[in-house]
């Protein structure tokens, strides 16, 4: 038994952290979030050079042949950097096609998704309509249909941009008649997608926690740093609890996706429920710790809160996932 990353995985993590910190400095994230499209093509091309879009896709289709664990390592870091990026949408589309697509569908779409040159984007939720992230600029959409999914070339779909409070991603309602149904079972890929979102939320929560800690160390009131007061320090301790518990559950679910698929449905819903709640709660508490400055547009923390809140609503809310957990736990 070893519940830790391998040296190679640590390498991926360190590379991602350094790369994203350099490319997505807070000023740049703010600039992107306030622009027409939040995605930076030059940075995406660099991510493609690093092999990230196809990290978990099979080598025969141009991917790196690694697993959901490695994908989750990247997504935790994109969450930490609050990187506006099509990475998660593209990875989700690739995972679904790889799991449920026919040979022909895989041959047609996976190489472009793996290289990042012909991106895919998959539906996150159907409320208020088929909602897809990073649809503009993608080549193919994976839209839900019944219990399965269908493929629609993006230029055959009607895209409507929907402005959500999270401006660090572009969201679209995508409607399309027809389409090419995927013959296989999409359930494991959908579960893996939830784990990806959970990982991103863990990263978001970690960053918000760090912001709150450093402020609590510096900010003085009544003659001492506010972090010395237990009303503040105990809240921060509970935030660490939130982050670490969500992280344990998320890493475990990622491992299940790769190595123990029979445990994935329960593990994925536990991770998604806990990570959604953790990220919303930790960002709320970060704002409370920051006080007035945390409520201003000028401070970055609100971007994290908004991402956490929207991600918590994608692919099932925490309450919906707990219902699934209860059923799978035998109730």
């Amino acid at each position: 038994m070893e519940f830790d990353f391998s040296d190679e995985q640590r390498e991926i993590q360190a590379t991602a952290r350094d790369f994203l910190a350099a490319r997505f400095k807070p000023e740049r994230v703010r600039e992107l979030a306030q622009s027409e499209s939040p995605y930076d093509d030059a940075i995406w091309n660099e991510m493609c050079d690093l092999g990230w879009p196809g990290i978990a896709l099979p080598e025969e289709h141009g991917g790196q042949g690694l697993g959901v664990v490695e994908l989750v390592i990247l997504l935790e870091q994109t969450g930490y950097a609050l990187a506006p990026s099509p990475l998660i949408s593209n990875a989700f589309a690739g995972t679904v096609i790889a799991a449920a697509g026919s040979d022909e569908q895989q041959r047609r779409w996976l190489p472009g998704i793996a290289s990042g040159e012909e991106r895919g984007a998959a539906e996150f939720t159907n409320d208020p309509g088929p909602l897809v992230g990073a649809a503009a600029g993608s080549a193919v959409l994976v839209l839900a249909e019944g219990d399965g999914a269908k493929l629609v070339p993006t230029d055959e779909a009607a895209l409507e941009r929907i402005e959500l409070i999270d401006a660090t991603r572009a969201y679209f309602i995508a409607r399309a008649e027809g389409g090419d149904p995927l013959p296989g079972d999409i359930a494991p890929a959908v579960d893996a997608g939830m784990v990806g979102l959970a990982a991103e939320s863990v990263g978001v929560a970690q960053r918000a926690l760090e912001m709150a800690i450093s402020y609590a160390k510096e900010r003085e009131q009544f003659g001492r740093p506010i972090g010395a007061y237990q009303a503040v320090s105990h809240r921060l301790a509970d935030m660490l609890w939130d982050v670490e518990e969500a992280r344990s559950l998320t890493y475990y679910a990622a491992w299940c996706a790769d190595a123990q698929p029979e445990s994935l449905p329960l593990a994925a819903s536990m991770a998604k429920a806990r990570a959604s709640d953790s990220a919303t709660s930790v960002t709320h508490n970060a704002i409370q710790t920051l006080g007035g400055i945390g409520f201003t547009w000028e401070h970055d923390v609100h971007f994290f809160l908004k991402r956490a809140r929207v991600s918590a609503q994608l692919m099932g809310s925490a309450g919906q996932h707990r219902e699934r957990v209860a059923a799978l736990a035998g109730l």
Partner: protein
């Protein structure tokens, strides 16, 4: 990352599981009385005869020298089989490891074997009425007297004091030294007239703990552990051992209890209630979070010697989950669960201590804030 057991770990688990299946003494008599204690003593003798009693102790001291992962597997298997606890749990988990770490060769020779065999039961004399979380403020005095010390003071929350032969006692040997520096760690013989043990009846109605009134009890010099004035450092070792004892087996105990709660919800026709379902799912997630955090800690400890930040929250996770679980059982069970002879009522009442014993949740949050998050100290 591989969360399955290696073939060696699996073989170890199978060995443990088979041994427990062959040797499980059946359900405990319960009631917390003498019969219960003798039952636990007999169980420990069995464990010891097969070499399981001091699983974490080095082989040279009669233990098994098991790795951390083996200890964790062993604890999980005991929890899975709902095996009784061994009678001398404080000696095994705290007393023995302290003597091994800080004791003289003579002390190791004298004290270790009877701990393993449960021939001599150990209790812990740390807390005092005026010194709980602020343990270093304790006032029990140890005054030098020909070849030993005379001890006077009062201790509280002393589990097994009425059964114990030895008490791990921390007392003040230097009233003029700074508060952490004037303390000494003693092994005090409980069989003396100068010690009065009074049962301390608790919220559940039973008396699991005791108060000790010590009026000039004698401890010879050879029963000082770690040297005069080093009591704080030695005591910290004991407390660290207490906290390291949590983890995977605690999660398994909770998982067993959750299964019982799910059965209760079905029996009571509450299985479809969305509020109950949501709370059960929260518990399931909390228990799994504790189990997985324990596995991360275990890996980190084996690799680098200390657990990561996830290890610092294990006790908080366990106590709050157990409290929430027993509260939900009362809601599901209705007044039937509140009958004075109900097991759920007992568990609920007992769980109130979970966030106090072994480090209060308030102090644990201070520790997380200061040592893990690096926040400034209040004091």
């Amino acid at each position: 990352m591989d969360l399955t057991l290696t073939p060696e770990e699996q073989a170890f688990r199978d060995e443990v599981r088979a041994w427990i299946a062959d040797n499980h003494p059946g359900p405990a008599p319960g009631g917390g009385d003498q019969a219960q204690f003798e039952f636990e003593r007999a169980w420990q003798r069995k464990l010891h005869a097969a070499g399981w009693a001091g699983i974490s102790w080095p082989k040279e001291y009669g233990g098994r020298g098991a790795t951390l992962i083996e200890q964790s597997i062993f604890g999980e298997e005991l929890a899975r089989a709902k095996a009784p606890r061994p009678a001398n749990v404080l000696g095994l988990v705290m007393g023995g490891p302290v003597v091994i770490a800080h004791g003289t060769e003579e002390q190791k020779e004298r004290f270790l074997e009877p701990i393993l065999s449960a021939e001599e039961i150990w209790c812990q004399g740390f807390s005092e009425p005026e010194s709980g979380s602020d343990l270093a403020s304790l006032k029990t005095k140890a005054v030098k007297e020909n070849g030993g010390f005379r001890i006077t003071g009062q201790k509280v929350w002393t589990t097994f004091a009425h059964e114990a032969k030895w008490c791990m006692l921390v007392a003040r040997t230097d009233p003029d030294a700074a508060k952490h520096k004037g303390l000494t760690y003693f092994l005090m013989d409980m069989e003396q007239d100068e010690i009065e043990v009074r049962p301390l009846r608790q919220i559940t109605g039973e008396a699991e703990f005791n108060e000790l009134f010590i009026e000039g009890a004698y401890v010879p010099d050879e029963n000082v552990v770690g040297g005069v004035g080093n009591g704080w450092m030695v005591a910290i070792t004991t407390l660290m051992n207490e906290r390291a004892g949590l983890g995977a087996s605690a999660a398994l105990g909770l998982a067993n209890a959750l299964d019982e709660l799910i059965a209760l919800a079905k029996e009571r026709g509450r299985a479809d209630d969305p509020l109950i379902r949501d709370k059960v799912a929260r518990l399931k997630i909390g228990i799994e979070g504790l189990r997985l955090g324990a596995m991360r800690s275990l890996t980190a400890t084996m690799k680098v010697g200390t657990p990561g930040p996830e290890g610092s929250i294990a006790k908080l996770q366990w106590s709050s989950t157990n409290q929430a679980l027993t509260e939900l059982a009362l809601e599901v069970g209705g007044l039937g669960a509140l009958r004075s002879d109900s097991l759920w009522a007992y568990r609920f009442l007992r769980s109130r201590a979970n966030s106090i014993e072994g480090g209060t949740s308030d102090v644990l949050r201070n520790i997380v804030a200061e040592r893990v998050l690096g926040l400034p100290k209040l004091r």
